[in-house]
């Protein structure tokens, strides 16, 4: 995609003496995970299309420390936080957008007390604001009329009470948005939070992502929409284990909007 979309870094902006409108915090999954990289690219295309003046930290970005903190390693978390805050404050960053609800929650809620005070938005909130400002158009395209169910990421929904931004965007796709039995405040976790993504589950009789995938399958969806790279992985694995990967796609809200426009 390098030939079509250039991704500027904060260092480049600084060298030119400019400041971007917003910092895109890519996150570890968005940078390294093959599936999540597609979400990153889709979001970057949307930013370009909406002519958003943005930059990334690139190699100066480091894990927010979220999984370390949730695993109980407050030391490592604060080391990461202090380092990141130092970098961001040096660039005088005011506004941050990220496609990962875990980064979103940590940057928004846990960095201010450590000296990092920024306006932090989840990418669905940011895209919604672009839509409201008339900078972004969302059309149904190939998704028009499809049955879509949205899985609420815990760290976006319950943790930060953001339920409507992703739904508002999905509705603009002219799709049939069907809610799962457990949604919004009552949404069931995908099983990845609290550092579970990085370990084997404790003994039990089922994996959490299977339980959640069953919730989603009950709505007989064509597409399961997600707003978190980890939920995306968990739901994709769930759909595979139900052998439904040929008929049901798991896509991020940003991917849906970008793909609808064939970006």
């Amino acid at each position: 995609m390098s030939e079509t979309v250039k991704v500027p870094t904060m260092a480049e902006y600084m060298a030119e003496g400019k400041k971007p409108e917003v910092l895109f915090w890519v996150g570890c999954a968005g940078s390294f995970d093959d599936r999540a990289k597609k979400i990153t690219k889709a979001f970057v295309k949307l930013l370009h299309n909406a002519k958003v003046d943005f930059a990334v930290l690139g190699t100066e970005e480091s894990c927010t420390g979220d999984p370390a903190k949730r695993a109980g390693n407050e030391f490592l978390f604060q080391m990461q936080a202090v380092t990141n805050v130092e970098v961001m404050n040096a660039y005088e960053i005011k506004k941050v957008v990220t496609a990962c609800p875990h980064c979103f929650n940590t940057l928004k809620n846990e960095y201010p007390a450590l000296g990092g005070d920024y306006e932090v938005m989840h990418h669905t909130q940011f895209l919604k604001s672009l839509l409201d400002e008339g900078r972004l158009t969302v059309t149904g395209g190939k998704f028009k009329g499809k049955r879509i169910t949205f899985h609420d990421p815990c760290y976006l929904g319950r943790a930060n009470n953001v339920y409507e931004a992703p739904r508002d965007l999905l509705k603009k796709l002219e799709v049939e948005l069907i809610e799962m039995k457990r949604c919004k405040k009552n949404g069931l976790c995908c099983g990845a939070g609290g550092a579970q993504m990085f370990k084997e589950p404790e003994p039990g009789n089922k994996d959490v992502n299977i339980e959640r995938t069953e919730d989603a399958l009950e709505t007989k969806p064509d597409i399961i929409a997600a707003g978190c790279p980890f939920c995306n992985t968990m739901m994709t694995d769930g759909v595979k284990s139900k052998e439904k990967e040929d008929s049901i796609e798991v896509l991020d809200v940003a991917e849906l909007i970008a793909n609808a426009q064939d970006l």
Binding site: T59, A68, N109, L114, C154, P203, D207
Partner: protein
């Protein structure tokens, strides 16, 4: 001689309230064993939360059947207490139905108490049915065996007996009023007990008097016993729900506190001019280095300990927990029950020895196992589900902190994840220098 009942009543009342007060002071002392946490901010919002969540039962009705039944019992409990006031005054002064001078309003009051008493009785029977006949899953989890199960049922039996005694007392009173018995002035309206009253037709005035007095005494004694039962029971929530919702965490649910002790150390590490070997400043006390995280109840903060005493073991948290639903050992309700049990044990230890004497036990391992703690996804479903603003999650995180920072006892997978973050700034072993590679792929 004629004052014997009055004297007896005052003795019983003082003893009942006295013993209750003594135990409540223990509860307060035990809660204060916790670390300090500032919850003195945003008084307006806190009052609003208490009014909505505790007084207004706003989160109870998320589950409509249990919610509405609970409101009936709760309203009944509060309103019928006005009657208890009359009973206490009558008991002390040897009067009978002292509020009867209110006339029509008194009739209205007694009539509403009776209707509420009947509704409470029906509500409690339905609660009992849900627990014991329908056997709702959340009342049959492993942590509900033994005392917790019996405690739940005992409370319901208490309430059934108290309501029955109240109605029998009124029914006998009605008969005595109709017989024109001395002392039994015609007062009150009895929409429920008028149907019980015919059962006592034909009884002599003497037996009716005995029946009415027995019901009256048993009712007030029952109330005093129930009051004192609270301290030993999960039913303490009828009082503590109020402070607990007031002192609840107001931060966004996703926000965990940043440990201040860690912040200080991190600042020292990051500060190039700091001398790590410097002697502590003169005015600085050289105490024990602060313990990170929690392995016992004294390491938790007082709000978490108040949470534990407030929990009424309804199990909504556990029934919403993704780990519990998929068969893992973790049950957020058990986290709260264990915390309370251990706190009670520590409190008893202090009562016995004057101050806490090491007993070779702690909350971690002896009550809560690492397996339970590591099963949590930190999804906040338990926190959202709790009708009285309890956070089992905050205790889980504090205990994980102890496991990781004091004992280095994280599961291997997590240790790998953490060393990756330490070495290359990502939870996976990818080089930080490759972080932007995606843009060229």
């Amino acid at each position: 001689m004629q004052y014997i009942p009055n004297i007896l009543f005052v003795i019983v009342l003082v003893a009942g309230i006295g013993y209750f007060t003594k135990n409540i002071r223990k509860v307060i002392r035990n809660i204060r064993l916790g670390k300090d946490v500032d919850r003195s901010d945003n008084k307006g919002e806190r009052f609003k939360n208490m009014a909505m969540i505790a007084l207004g039962q706003s989160k109870m009705v998320r589950r409509p059947v249990a919610g509405i039944l609970h409101i009936v019992v709760y309203l009944g409990f509060i309103i019928i207490n006005i009657e208890v006031l009359e009973i206490i005054i009558d008991g002390i002064f040897g009067t009978h139905r002292i509020f009867a001078f209110l006339g029509g309003f008194y009739d209205f009051l007694i009539a509403s108490f009776e209707i509420l008493a009947l509704l409470v009785f029906v509500g409690v029977v339905l609660f009992w049915t849900r627990r014991n006949v329908i056997k709702l899953k959340r009342f049959w989890n492993p942590e509900m065996k033994g005392w917790p199960k019996n405690d739940g049922n005992l409370i319901l039996y208490f309430e059934m007996v108290l309501m029955t005694l109240f109605l029998v007392m009124n029914a006998a009173d009605l008969q005595l009023q109709e017989l024109g018995a001395d002392h039994y002035i015609k007062a009150g309206a009895y929409p429920v007990s008028q149907f019980i009253s015919p059962l006592f037709n034909g009884m002599s005035e003497g037996s009716l008097f005995l029946l009415e007095r027995s019901a009256w005494w048993l009712h007030i004694l029952g109330i005093l016993v129930f009051l004192n039962y609270l301290y030993f029971s999960k039913h303490l929530h009828i009082l503590l729900a109020f402070p607990n919702t007031y002192y609840g965490d107001l931060k966004p649910k996703g926000e965990l506190d940043n440990l201040e002790a860690v912040t200080n150390e991190v600042k020292l590490m990051m500060d190039p001019s700091a001398d790590p070997f410097a002697a502590p400043a003169e005015d600085q006390e050289e105490g024990e280095p602060e313990k990170f995280g929690a392995s016992d109840v004294m390491d938790l903060n007082w709000a978490q300990l108040l949470n534990a005493y407030t929990c009424t073991e309804c199990g909504r948290c556990t029934s919403e927990c993704p780990a519990n639903q998929t068969g893992k050992k973790l049950s957020p309700r058990k986290i709260m029950m264990d915390t309370r049990d251990r706190l009670k044990e520590v409190g008893d230890n202090i009562d016995k020895n004057g101050s806490f004497v090491e007993d070779g036990k702690q909350l971690l391992n002896d009550y809560i196992t690492p397996e339970e703690l590591w099963a949590c996804t930190s999804c906040n479903a338990c926190v959202e589900a709790c009708p009285v603003s309890i956070s089992p999650l905050s205790i889980i995180i504090d205990m994980r902190r102890y496991l990781v920072m004091e004992e280095s006892a994280a599961p291997t997978d997590l240790n790998n994840m953490m060393s990756n973050i330490e070495n290359n700034g990502a939870p996976w072993p990818f080089n930080q220098m490759d972080r932007l590679n995606w843009s060229n792929e």
